[in-house]
Every structure is written in structure tokens, then in C-alpha cells.
């Protein structure tokens, strides 16, 4: 790590008396020296072969046991793993920081596929609350419905639900894309900061409440707008992007994207500190 040392070197700021030290220590070259393997180690990653496939029956396993076995199979080079009998268990498939083709033959409970970075996942069932929370990268497709807090705080990747989702979809999301083929509940996009949400069906009340940034696209009816969520102009670029995204998502390919409503942040709450007290009340 870098160190602070006092030197005789005089920069303009130092000559102005603002400080006397300079940063020293390991350089970028030192951090990424190819001769040091430790600089390339990323915990939980393996060299896997997508053509090497296996089944894993988790019926009699706890979630930690199942997740450990997935990790073990990846360490043996399996790049395609089919999970049998997930039966609504919680916390399955969490923390996978690897390229992996993962298929669930059934439904997941709470916190399924949380904190993942890289896998391609297909869930031939339903997922419970907080699916794919904190997703960094990868693609997750849910064939049926999803519970509340779908894609909470995701940073990247594509999260796709072909059915309907519960309340607070995309809450606190900071990037990535959430695509829903059916309806969504209340507070969709609550406090979202970046990223995009596409809901082809209807949404409940308080859509985009307190959103800082990001974009929401709604194909159906909107229950109500939340604080600081406002309609935006749907540009041709938006429509092109929506068509591409829906095609890649295997969902709503024939949907008339020109009828989609675009919602963005009014950025009154975001600039909250710049407002006068009376204006703050108006923004809320």
C-alpha cells in the first residue's frame, strides 16, 4: 500500500504551504506484476469447461451443503451444472464469482443467486424474495414468477423474470437491467440509483419512489408515481435498445415498444440540499 513520507520535493501546492508530504509505495506495476500470482487470484474462481456437464440433486442437502458442492464441482472444471429438486430452499446458488452455466430444475426460496458475479443461470420455476441481490454480472432467467425485492441493489448483469414479480423490484439498484414479462407490485424502483428496469405488464403504486437516477420502462398501467418520479421522453434510441434487450431476454420480442412509458428521476430529492425549506416540502 501507499505510504506518506515527508520529502524535499516542492510542488506548487507544497510551496503554498498546503502540505509537505507525497504519496509513495507500491506502484501499479508492482500491483500487476505477472510474476506474482497472488495479484491474479480471485477467490472462488475456476477454469471451467461449459461442455463438461453434471447433475446435482439437492433434495437431501441444506443450502450451505448444496452451495459448497456447486463450488466443488466448479473446482473440478464442470461448466454446466443442473440442480435437481431445489424445492424452494433458501439461499441456493449464492456467491458464485465465476463463469458457469447453472440450471435449476425447480423453484428457489429466499435470497437465491445472491451476490453473484458472472454466471449464466436459468431457473425453471419460481424464486422467492430478494432473488439475485447484489448481482454484479451475468444473466439470470426465471421462467415463472418472482417474489418481492427482485434484484435488490444489483450493480450489473441482466435479471429476467418471464412471469410477474412482487413489490420493491429493483430497490436500491445501482446498475444492470431488470426485465419482467408480467406485472410488478408497489414501490418498483424504490430509491434506485442507476440501471434500467423494464416491466411489460402493469405496476402498482409509488413507482420509482425517491429514485436518484436510472430509467424505468413500463408497458402496462401505472398504479401511481412515487415521489420525484416523472415521465420522460421515449426516444428512438430508447426504443432500439428496448427491442434489442427484449430479444436477448427471450421475452416480449413482439411487444410494441412505442407504447412503453418511460420514467426518470425529477432530481428534486437528489438535489435536496440545494433546496430552500419550503421547496423541500414541495419535493416530498
Amino acid at each position: 500500500m501507499a505510504n506518506l513520507k515527508t520529502t524535499d520535493k516542492k510542488s506548487k501546492s507544497q510551496s503554498m504551504g498546503m502540505h509537505s508530504e507525497v504519496l509513495t509505495g507500491r506502484t501499479q506495476q508492482k500491483f500487476f506484476n505477472p510474476s506474482e500470482a497472488e495479484n491474479f487470484y480471485y477467490f472462488g474462481t475456476y477454469d471451467v469447461d461449459f461442455n463438461k456437464r453434471t447433475d446435482l440433486d439437492v433434495k437431501e442437502m441444506t443450502a450451505p451443503e448444496a452451495n459448497k458442492e456447486i463450488d466443488n464441482l466448479m473446482s473440478q472444471g464442470y461448466g454446466t451444472i443442473v440442480i435437481k429438486n431445489p424445492q424452494g430452499k433458501h439461499s441456493l446458488g449464492v456467491g458464485i464469482l465465476n463463469k458457469l452455466n447453472l440450471i435449476f430444475e425447480g423453484s428457489l426460496g429466499y435470497f437465491g443467486m445472491g451476490s453473484c458475479d458472472g454466471p449464466t443461470v436459468r431457473i425453471n420455476g419460481r424464486v422467492g424474495w430478494s432473488c439475485a441481490e447484489n448481482l454484479m454480472a451475468g444473466k439470470i432467467v426465471i421462467e415463472k414468477n418472482a417474489g418481492s425485492c427482485f434484484g435488490a441493489a444489483i450493480r450489473g448483469g441482466d435479471l429476467i423474470c418471464k412471469g410477474s414479480v412482487g413489490a420493491r423490484t429493483g430497490i436500491d439498484m445501482k446498475g444492470g437491467t431488470i426485465i419482467v414479462g408480467g406485472d410488478a407490485g408497489a414501490f418498483t424502483g424504490f430509491m434506485m440509483q442507476r440501471g434500467r428496469i423494464i416491466i411489460l405488464g402493469d405496476v402498482g403504486i409509488n413507482l420509482g419512489d425517491s429514485m436518484y437516477d436510472g430509467t424505468i420502462f413500463i408497458g402496462g398501467k401505472i398504479g401511481s408515481f412515487g415521489s420525484d418520479a416523472v415521465p420522460g421522453d421515449l426516444t428512438t434510441s430508447d426504443q432500439d435498445w428496448l427491442k434489442r434487450k427484449l430479444k436477448v431476454a427471450e421475452i416480449g420480442e413482439k411487444f410494441d415498444v412505442s407504447k412503453i412509458t418511460k420514467i426518470v428521476s425529477g432530481k428534486k430529492l437528489w438535489n435536496y440540499d440545494n433546496l430552500e425549506p419550503t421547496e423541500k416540502k414541495g419535493a416530498i
Binding site: 424452494g88 430444475e105 422467492g128 414468477n145 413489490a167 407490485g185 402498482g204
Partner: protein, 314 residues
Amino acid sequence: MCGIAGLIYKDKSVNIGTQLQGMLQALKHRGEDSTGYALYGDTDGKNFIMRFKVGENVGEGSSSVMEETSVYDERIKIVKAHILGMGAKIIKEERILPYSLRYEVSYDEKDLREFSRKIESVPGVEILSMGKSLEVIKDLGNAKDVCDRYNLDKIVGTHAIGHARMATESGVDIKSAHPFWGYPFSDVSVVHNGQLTNYWNNRRLLENEGMRFMSECDSELIAVYLAKKLRDGATLEEGMKASLTGLDGVFTYFVATKDSLGMAKDTMAAKPLVLYESDNLIAMGSEEIAIRAILPQEIDTYDPYDGEVKVWQI
């Protein structure tokens, strides 16, 4: 955090005690301070089944005290005298535990208010349920503990609701455990997951109108609130819809009657519920694993939305 579960078969009777036990046991990580069952068993419909307690099973934070069995014996004598004094007849009596009893009672009066008031005028006595079909059983421990203690695996019927409790708003004891009976309406029971923030305001209003509270558990308010709506002539579904604005806080609750099962979810959708619906079975719970306990095969389930009320009839 608590867990709730419910099921209703539209076209047949099953071993609902065992099925609900499986569902609630799957939710035991959501709370196992106490577990309660409201079972709607097959009966001939002639007599009332009265489940009542003459003492408490006291856990952490409870304001109640444990008492000697001789105290319970005295109370039971007085209860029996009151029943006979009101012209009712005890057809069958079972003492399941020293403090927990089940009576089959022949009673012609339709209004159970006076009957219940008389019984509950005995200190330490509380009627847990009174109905032609409903039996409320609740005690400390997880679902299997309670099922084994009360032999619930033998009860056959069409529908049931239950609750696995993590005590937060009141102490660990039977009086604060769910389900709550919709006193004085026979065969009405309620379980709830969540917190009600206008409990005391509503309680004061309802008590001023003669409604009865037996605990300080906020969830009891839902049963009393719905009972008041029914007393005022509303249908169950109308009462449940009114509760979405009349009750403040976060909640998912189930209510059951002799021939129906209903669910309501608050307008914030802050509490979970997963629902499976087919032509002959509705099963629901706080988590999907509760439903999986009785339906291990692949099924389609969904989350009801904010402000949603549903009622199913047999």
C-alpha cells in the same frame, strides 16, 4: 418475524392436522416461541366444540404466572357449573393437559357472547375457540411439539390456518399466541404476520363498543376488528377490505370461517406471502417451503400484491 400458513381443500377432507404441522414446521426458523393451529374438522355440526384453558404455560417476558394443578381443578369445577347453569349440556369432555381442555357442548343459544362472558368470568379461564367445526390449539414450542402434545395428527377436515410465533410485541405465553378467535362469532379465527401501529387507538375504540380483548398482542386486534365488522352486518370480505385502511402498519393475515379461507395484505406489501391455487386446493404460507411440505412436486406459485384481499369458499 413470524410465519403463517393456511390451506383449504374444496372437494375433500384430509388429515389437516398433519398437513398444517408439516407446513408450520417448515417455517419454524421464523419463530418457535409458540405455535398455534386453527383446525376446521369434520363434525356432525350439532354441538359446539369449546377449546379453553384454565391456566397459562409461561415463557419469557410473560406477565402471567404458573399455578398449581389444584387451582386449575377448582376453576374447572366452576366452569362446569356455569355451563350447566346456562342450560347447556356437556356431551364430551377431555383434559388434554392440566391447563388445557376440550369440551363438546350442546347449547341452543345462537349468541355466544353471554355464554363466553360467563365462562371467562372465572379468573384465569380463556376460551380459545368456540365453534361447530373450529378448534384452536396453541401452546409454547414449535409445530411438532404442539402437534405431538395435543395429538393433532388425528384431526381430519377441510381447512386450517396456523402460526409459528417469534414473540416481539408481547410475552411468550398461550394468551399471546395465535390464532385468535373472532369472539363472539363461532368458527372465526385469525393469524397474522407483521406489526400493527394503531393497536392502542383501535383497541380503545373497540373496547368502548363492548368488544373483548384477552391479550396485549397487537395481532388480536385483527380478530376483534373483523368481529366488530361482522357484528355491524358486513360480510367477511367487506370487513377484510375495510381493514386495509382501518389497520395501520405492516401485515399479512389469514382469516378462516366454517366454510371459507381468506387472506389480506397491507398496502405496502411489506410482509411476505406465497400462494398456490388450483381447482381443489389453495395453500399459502410466508415462504414457499411451507407449501412444499405438502406439495413436493413442481408447482406454480405467486406473491399476492399490495392491498390484495382474497376469499375462497369450500
